[in-house]
Amino acid sequence: MPRYGMVIDTRKCVGCQDCVIACKTENNIPEGYNRDWIVTEAKGKFPDIQLEIRTERCNHCSETPCVSCCPTGASHIHDVGGVVLVEHNMCIGCKACVEACPYDARFIHPDGYADKCTFCIHRVEKGQKPACVEVCPTYCMYFGDLDDPNSEVSKLLQSRKWHINLPDAGTQPNIFYLV
């Protein structure tokens, strides 16, 4: 069974927010809500400043506090690719999963259910790329099977230096940032 993940090249990402708009359009995300977003991190002492721009979303972790805290089973791991999803008509809107995510990647949709990135599983299951990956003008985003050593994402992780977000939180995220 594949394990879907993303590799994002922070040296190519310019923070243009095309991925954000693509997601909102593809998934009909209401105004004022975001399933993905841009983080800009600057560190240093002038004039020696480092900058990292990265596009962030649900990390579709391998250890999923958002799934284990769900009282109804609405928050679950999909049969295909280990993608973390929410079954809208099982969700009671208790917000436990929103609190349980160390990345704050979830929100409550105005219709009442917990919502977040789905890796565009409806597209992926048809053989397409997630909308954000599809539109990226700098080609900084890669999507694929992390368990397949010959996949593009696996090869990138073998050949480049990378980091994950909040490694200390222990959730084993499946989005990797090339540095």
Binding site: Q17, V20, G32, Y33, N34, W37, I38, V39, T40, E41, A42, K43, G44, K45, F46, Q50, E52, E56, P65, S68, C69, C70, P71, T72, G73, A74, N89, M90, C91, I92, G93, C94, K95, A96, V98, E99, A100, C101, P102, Y103, D104, R106, F107, I108, D111, G112, Y113, H163, N165, L166, D168, A169, G170, Y177
Partner: protein, 318 residues
Amino acid sequence: MNELLELTTTRNNPHVDPSMAMWEWQIPVYLFLGGMVAGMMIIAGYFLFSGRHKESNCSCFFIPIVSVVLLSLGMFALFLDLAHKLYVWRLYTTFQFTSPMSWGAWILILVYPALIANILIKPAKWMTDRIPKLNEYSKKINDHPFLVKNIGIANMILGMMLGAYTGVLLSTMGSRPLWNTSLLWVLFLVSGLSAAAAFVHLFAKNKYESELLAKADNGFLIIELFVFVMIFLGLLSSARPHIEAAHLLLSGAYAPVFWVFVIGIGIIVPLIIQLLAVNHKVSHTAIAPILVIVGGLILRFVIVSAGQYSHWFNAHLH
């Protein structure tokens, strides 16, 4: 010039940014009422178990009635918090072993029959006037003293489960460093017992029970202080997010309300007043119990709010 670290995000989701504030007043109110009812069940259960129900003015008769009302109010607050209210029944078509909220939903289902069984031991007059058949049930239960004892045991066990789960609900969240201490359930259980002892002390007609509960409450308040010390020792000797979480209460944004209302007005002041009262230096007044109850409520607000504020730090540059 100092080294700078700037982290900006375009996310800005409602109640998530700039800091998590998903759970508002409904959750602390429920945690407080649930915790106090849990404490009252343990107290009433203990009185039943030790045969105090033979006294006509035993507190164990009014406690379950008040408990049903307060717990229902708390559950209503919890219901108000749900964003997808029409789907609330989904809680009861499954049991999710790893979800404290699922445990809680089922514990609440078990709590009500235990409270009703307790009420049936000696139903209030306004109840038997309306439903005379209650007298028959009451007689049947009282004909079997072991049954009364077992109702007491059931109330104590379910009270402990209810009180503990309100803490476990938060402490399982590794994402919120302040909550992520496995002592949180002890704190909430002891605080619930303390508020319950104060509440019952206020309304108890039986002199012995009233005095006993004031003494017990002093014990609970002292234990609560020790639990706080141990929680802070645990957090302060842990990772950086946990240390920062502890400092939120000890010296940070939440320090004034924590020290003044939770520790000062909620524990220390009533403890001093009640210690003087049980040693007959001053007479019992409603002041100390009311402070304990208000302190317990503020404790839940502070823990829920500061806990949501505490977080991991998403910075990666070295």
